[in-house]
């Protein structure tokens, strides 16, 4: 029981430390040029790609629910940002989802 607690706490601390480190690194990279960021993203798939946005929706949001019918473009921003928190989306996934919901 004690070892399970130790492992769990260790896991939580490791993840928190990793997340904090990756956030700081990402914040630094964000402050650098946007073009660098764009080229980095384009190596895999561009976040603005509708295919990627659809994939983000299928892999994250659709695990719990279907896409809303006739989603107003005005609502897309708030919906995507709500999903960013609820589904733990990364920043590039958020942008892809936003583009998918409001092309």
């Amino acid at each position: 029981m004690k070892s399970l607690k130790t492992i769990t706490l260790g896991l939580a601390l490791s993840i928190s430390a990793f997340a904090a480190a990756s956030s700081m690194l990402h914040a630094q990279s964000d402050s650098q040029s946007q073009s660098h960021s764009d080229s980095k993203l384009s190596r895999s798939s561009h976040p603005a790609s509708p295919d990627r946005g659809q994939r983000v929706f299928q892999q994250n949001c659709a695990r719990c629910h279907a896409a809303p019918e006739n989603l107003s473009p005005s609502a897309a921003g708030a919906v995507a940002r709500h999903m960013r928190v609820r589904a733990n989306l990364s920043e590039s996934d958020l942008r892809a989802l936003l583009h998918f919901l409001n092309p």
């Binding site: 939580a12 919906v79 940002r81």
Partner: protein
């Protein structure tokens, strides 16, 4: 003595354990404040994402062991983006329970509560700091499936009480986010601390915990582990694991959870299959969705507070959903619960509408 709770209310057949100083008024005030602020923001920036009103409205019936309850229910959600880094979210539950009185006639009571009222601050690409009252991040059900329009079944799993710290909500701070994500895997996490609060609408227990989950897109598999520690009068640990599987390009979903408390443990798994493979999701057949859930709890020693049945219990539910156009869903199910000396049939039906409207038209 633990707090009277939303969980206890929902677990006890949406029973009458609740009493609070009119939380609906506070929920409405919060909503009005948010919408008022959204109006200010609209003027402040033409590029501001508008606030949205979302949620579900439904009429549910439950017949448990011959006793029928009629439950009109609304779970409105308001989401207000403030600038690029801050998001305010809140959800309330308003529910009436009409039931047959012993003797003659019907009686009813109304249950109102605020499920959460939280501020989400983006702290980088991989982290969000959440403050306020938020849903306890334990397992999957509490955060993902307590909205009435996306529940597979309208009743909560028997082990829902494990890790949800009685109220299902925490009052404090949480850090969560995506640790990494690529085309092959995605790892996300959440860790929180909650203070104790006996307020009727911000009820929470002093606790801490967290969870981590790994999702593999290629196979559609998600596995995760949760840990919670109650820090109230009694210090207790809760552990949980979950496995979800949604094969790519199919309408099939498998969800399962196992959780353990100091005096009991249990599991549930459910499957649903939207028949959209037969002509598409908008055909008569494609709108059908058979659903099934199996669950079991094991009592190791007596505990009046963990929310699980007092004796070993098994339950199976089989249902059918029909998805009408315009976000309306009809649900019906039959379940049989087996426990020593008290086997019961449970029939459920519901008609639920999912709404999602922006509060103004954005120029984006």
């Amino acid at each position: 003595m633990r707090n009277l709770s939303k969980v206890a209310f929902m677990k006890t057949d949406r029973g009458n354990k609740f009493s609070s100083p009119n939380p609906l008024v506070h929920a409405i005030c919060a909503l009005a404040t948010i919408l008022g602020a959204s109006g200010v923001c609209q003027h402040a920036s033409a590029q501001q994402d508008p606030a949205i009103i979302s949620g579900g409205i439904g009429f549910l019936t439950t017949t448990n062991g011959g006793n029928t309850n009629y439950l009109p229910e609304a779970k409105p959600v308001a989401v207000l983006p403030l600038g690029d880094h801050l998001l305010i979210e809140t959800r309330a539950t308003v529910l009436s329970n009409f039931f047959h009185r012993t003797g003659d006639g019907y009686d009813h009571f109304t249950f109102k509560t605020m499920d959460y009222l939280q501020a989400d601050l983006k702290a980088g690409s991989h982290a969000t700091i959440v403050g306020g009252e938020f849903l306890t991040p334990f397992g999957t059900y509490n955060e993902r499936l307590t909205q009435i329009w996306n529940q597979t079944f309208q009743n909560l799993p028997l082990i829902y009480g494990i890790g949800s710290m009685n109220t299902g909500s925490a009052l404090g701070a949480m850090v969560r986010g995506n640790a990494f994500a690529n085309e092959h895997a995605s790892l996300s996490y959440a860790a929180y601390y909650s203070a104790n609060s006996t307020s009727g609408y911000f009820g929470a227990e002093r606790s801490s915990g967290g969870q981590a989950q790994l999702y593999i897109p290629g196979s559609g598999v998600e596995i995760g582990a949760s840990y919670g520690r109650s820090l109230g009068a009694v210090h207790e640990n809760f552990e949980g694991m979950h496995l979800w599987w949604q094969p790519v390009d199919t309408g099939f979903r498998f969800r399962s959870e196992f959780a353990r408390a100091p005096h009991a443990k249990g599991y549930w798994f459910e499957t649903d299959y939207r028949l959209e493979q037969f002509g598409g999701a908008d055909t008569t057949l494609g709108r059908l969705e058979p659903v099934f859930r199996m669950q079991q709890t094991f009592r190791d020693s007596p505990d009046n507070n963990d929310g699980l049945p007092f004796v070993n219990t098994k339950r199976a539910d089989l249902g059918l959903d029909y998805h009408l156009p315009h976000e309306i869903r009809i649900h019906s199910s039959y379940g049989r619960q087996f426990s020593p000396g008290a086997n019961v049939n449970i029939w459920e039906t519901s008609l639920v509408y999912r709404l999602l409207i922006p509060t103004w038209k954005s120029k984006r």
